[in-house]
Subunit: 241 residues, 2 copies
DNA sequence: TCAAGAGATGACCCACGGGTCATTTTCTGA
DNA sequence: TCAGAAAATGACCCGTGGGTCATCTCTTGA
């Protein structure tokens, strides 16, 4: 009965559905307890399976589940980025405008995926420098996935003299890395001091706090990433004393 | 006998010396095994103390030792940065030149402190988002220490119209964060593929690899951080098809 | 020399949750 | 209907190393 042209038969569809249920359960447990305090028992229970069953779907166990979560999420983000660049009307906008739009796509995505962001910020470096190099590779592949849809546009923009003459792939990595770094800082400040008590924060001024709020992040990131830190790079570094 | 004006008597000096010996031992064990596989027994043994004694010097146990290591290291780096900006001849150089020099100070420092860099890259995010908010605060203070000597010069440069009109402290955080992000990527690529086998690397071209080598990192980082990604920000985003 | 406190010591404790696998249940196709 | 495969299950195993604290040693100063 299933259409013969469909790539998946019922068996496979059900398997995928179960896998998805497990991932959903994992996501919610991870969100509540964080990766390290999440117990496989609880994930299994919430997904209404036995713990052992998880291992039929995720051979690598707990860590494998985390990777799968990341992979899904990165695929979704890559999709959004590709969609963004597919818009033909981009050609009517200035380069700054376009890249600012890109930053917004990235920031919006993570704003909507708080749980994944938290996991990513907390676990990614550990996994990147994990004893098992396979994990390192898997994390790099993940990052690559996110960067991939950026490479072609950047390459073209470089050829057109719009972006600087640096490797498009590395520049893309730089953008993504800087953005995540900023998010980490913002999230950490929030954790440490709460939005409620700015006075205890070493990030002193109201000015600083304003830029840590998500709405304004784009402005600062766009300025620094796209235009650079220096307004007058060739001026002498003579500061009024 | 100890000069009465000296702030420390023998007792205190000895205590400091022991503490230092423990930190040296910890550093070497951490370097060999990484933080998580380092055993306190081994640190104690290498420092020629009993394990319990460690707790007289580092109340917080293993994690406290790591923090102490980070604190020493960050103080040293802050010192270097301050020294860099104290040089009066900076006023004869262009802003780009000066900030490029700053990047070199940062990169050189971590090149000379590989072990600390590895620990910092792998552990910092976990600690920043640690369950115990005290750890979060301590990590933020650390970062702040590194950023602190940058703030005054940046503030002055901003007033002089040399750097863009963004919060100096946040801009400094951005610089430091981006640099660490780049180092993480470089270290991770090296781990995953070794310098030996570039062909298996998804970072495809020789161009990419060149910029991951430490010597060239400065160039790319300086370009992207100081001048920004966009060469012609106001040009239309029209790519030759 | 000795009392008293500071400091050093290392054997022991213990929680704990990820992973395994023998067994049971369900599914499939003839 | 049933045989055999595929999938689900969850009780059990297991290693581990950080942290504690009762005990011992050493320093100090009278």
């Amino acid at each position: 009965m299933p259409s013969p042209t469909a790539p998946l038969n019922r068996r496979e569809r059900e398997r995928l559905a179960r896998r998805r249920a497990m991932l959903d359960a994992a996501r919610s447990v991870f969100a509540e307890k964080g990766y390290e305090h999440a117990r496989l028992d609880e994930i299994a229970e919430r997904a209404e399976f036995g713990k052992g069953t998880l291992y039929n779907y995720f051979e690598g166990g707990k860590e494998d589940i985390l990777f799968a979560l990341f992979e899904d999420s990165h695929a979704a983000l890559a999709q959004r980025i590709a969609t963004f660049f597919a818009d033909p009307s981009l050609a009517q906008r200035s380069a700054r405008d376009v890249f600012r739009g890109l930053l917004n796509v990235l920031l919006d995505y993570f704003r909507g995926e708080r749980e994944v962001l938290a996991l990513l910020l907390k676990e990614s470096q550990r996994l990147m420098l994990h004893d098992d190099v396979a994990a390192t590779r898997r994390m790099l592949a993940l990052r690559e996935r996110m960067v991939e849809p950026l490479v072609a546009p950047m390459e073209a923009a470089r050829a057109a003299g719009i972006v600087r003459d640096v490797s498009p792939r590395l520049a893309a990595h730089f953008i993504v890395g800087s953005m995540l770094g900023h998010l980490l800082y913002a999230v950490t400040c929030e954790r440490a001091f709460g939005s409620a008590d700015p006075s205890a924060c070493p990030v002193v001024g109201a000015e600083d706090l304003r830029y840590l709020r998500p709405e304004s992040s784009t402005d600062m990131l766009a300025t620094l990433l796209l235009d650079g830190l220096l307004a007058r790079p060739d001026a002498l570094f003579t500061l009024s004393s």
